[in-house]
């Protein structure tokens, strides 16, 4: 069970944060291009989930599997999007992303007025806490 990387995207699709723990193949795209690709995909998938849902108006896109990795997605009502890529044998970690948002993102980024939410996150405290949180998960292996 491995954690590959994490993206945090803002309300308008801007890139707020990216961190990788293990990535065997880079996509040869710039940070900007990769994030735009990610935002486009998430937008399409969320809309798709809502439209094709069996009961009207519900249907939240949470994760997808490929043969090599699993992408977990969590979005706040304010539009902050968390995307975590892990190996395929990891259980859906919607709750973990929610905890990450409430206990780490809110406490170190939202509560820090020196780190605006419209620009890439520049807080070393956030990075430290995020790393510690991810590393202590059962699905993280060094």
């Amino acid at each position: 069970m491995v954690v590959y990387n994490l993206y945090i995207l803002g309300k308008n699709g801007q890139s707020l944060f990216y961190r990788e723990w293990l990535r065997e193949q880079s996509s040869n795209l710039s940070r900007d291009e990769e994030d735009k690709l990610m935002v486009g995909l998430l937008f399409s998938l969320s809309n798709f989930a809502k439209k094709m849902s069996s009961s009207p108006g519900t249907g939240v896109f949470k994760s997808f599997n490929t043969s090599k990795y699993k992408l977990h997605y969590w979005e706040s009502p304010t539009g902050i999007k968390l995307v975590l890529n892990t190996s395929t044998d990891v259980e859906p970690c919607h709750d973990h992303l929610s905890t990450l948002y409430h206990h780490i993102f809110i406490q170190t980024v939202v509560k820090n007025p020196l780190v605006p939410l419209t620009e890439p996150i520049n807080s070393s405290l956030f990075v430290t806490k995020l790393d510690a949180f991810i590393k202590q998960q059962t699905f993280f292996q060094d």
């Binding site: 406490q107 820090n112 007025p113 020196l114 807080s123 070393s124 405290l125 430290t128």
Partner: protein, 153 residues
């Protein structure tokens, strides 16, 4: 949402507000003044059911424990004195600084977040009839060291 969180967000914006003008010292002294007035009133309110304090050091102990608890939701770590009117209060995780960083990042911005608390302390001491000069030193966020000099007449 607990009431401290409401204060936390408000104070964050106040401390970081650009409307005070470019002069950093003026910014800090305005915040300190506001804290001073609030500190006086808060202390009046807090002490209405308490007996009078016997000694100066009791006032400082009250500041470190009860006042700190009310304002910052924790007790200060330590109180030191040189018995000649100077006291040093240390707090290893000062509440207005914990979300900023842990270490050296944003160190230059730290004084803005300490001005209002300094004022609070000065106001509280004034309300308890001690005229004091309060300064604070931060070398590593979030640990703060408050130096209180009691001014004798």
């Amino acid at each position: 949402m607990e009431s401290y969180t409401l204060f936390e967000y408000f104070h964050n914006e106040l401390a970081n507000w650009k409307g005070f003008g470019a002069d950093k010292d003026e910014h800090i002294s305005i915040l300190e003044d506001i804290g001073y007035k609030v500190g006086i009133s808060l202390c009046e309110n807090m002490c209405k059911d308490r007996p009078r304090f016997k000694e100066e050091v009791d006032v400082l102990r009250f500041l470190c424990r009860d006042f700190w608890e009310l304002c910052f939701r924790r007790s200060a770590n330590s109180l030191k004195t040189d018995n000649a009117g100077t006291y040093v209060i240390q707090d290893s995780e000062f509440r207005t600084l914990t979300a900023l960083s842990s270490g050296k990042q944003f160190l230059t911005d730290a004084p803005k977040f300490l001005a209002y608390p300094c004022g609070l302390l000065r106001g509280a001491l004034f309300a308890l009839t001690l005229n004091a000069h309060v300064t604070v030193e931060v070398t590593q966020i979030p640990a703060a060291k408050f130096k209180i000099d009691i001014l004798r007449k």
